[in-house]
Symmetry: C2
Subunit: 194 residues, 2 copies
Amino acid sequence: MPALLDAIDKRFACRHFIAGQAPTETELALLREAGRLAPSAFGLEPWRFITVTDAAGRAAIAHACFDQPAAATAPAFIVVVALVDDLDPDADYVRQRFAAEARGGDTATINAQYRAFYKPDAIAAWACGQCNFAAAHILLQAAHLGLGSCPIGGYDETALRAALKLDRGETPALVIALGHCAEAQPARLRKPAG
Amino acid sequence: MPALLDAIDKRFACRHFIAGQAPTETELALLREAGRLAPSAFGLEPWRFITVTDAAGRAAIAHACFDQPAAATAPAFIVVVALVDDLDPDADYVRQRFAAEARGGDTATINAQYRAFYKPDAIAAWACGQCNFAAAHILLQAAHLGLGSCPIGGYDETALRAALKLDRGETPALVIALGHCAEAQPARLRKPAG
């Protein structure tokens, strides 16, 4: 067993994908499964994953991402979307997640903790931050499958919302461009270990 | 090669650790290395990792985490701390990261993009969200090494800041309890695939 997780070592932000070599449906399903198994605070899993592989949908996403090369060349996207309105302490979504988290037991404690934590003005940013757990899983799973990926946080939110037909109560958290990378892994840029 | 990354399959939130079986220094270094290699927006890596293994330090962290069992029994912690003041567009930290990111090239474009993005009131929450990329790497690397882990987001921030002697310009993002898990992996609780 290599000491450092191989997928961590291999993952990098791919800027150009090979045309016409899309991830398979099986691979895309595994990427979403990796995201689904990510941890989240209060067990809320405040995300959903939108897969886009059709030409018109991809073009709309690429355009929302200012046609940056990774987006313009990607044969597939998984967009991680943060559930925001669902996180209201009185929402059915929260009630259902806490009931599951309590495994049939009492939900009073987690409910009280969550109500003390919840701030309406802060919840969207928090939910987007939670989505990064799922996104990190998807990116590492892609590396594990030999796929290239690029996380894209810079987009025109209005255009991206329109492309994805997002509900008002949701917020795009991260666009993940996916495919087979047309570039070799570059030398890694990181600040030194502290 | 198993289709789903093995570390994703094995990771779970361990609630009780075995007393006296701390991760080795080598293991802790690998966990920090996994975090160091995580992706971040603008290549800013807005984090640092504080490792705590001494009894007094652990007790202070556990207390800040309301003595919940995972914290009270953990023989080690890595706390992911968000760099907040360093993210000011005029900070030396940002200048240095962008110079590295540009690999000797022009930093005008990334600088302009970041200045358009930066909102002083939103940056702390954003930085904490970015830290979740590093945290996810650390949690998966722990699973890869056969270690148990528990991400803990519920703490008394004042007490945790004091325990870690944090600078005013930093914010704790996540406490990760680490050790050898005293429990078997429970049945996974997740909402169904969408």
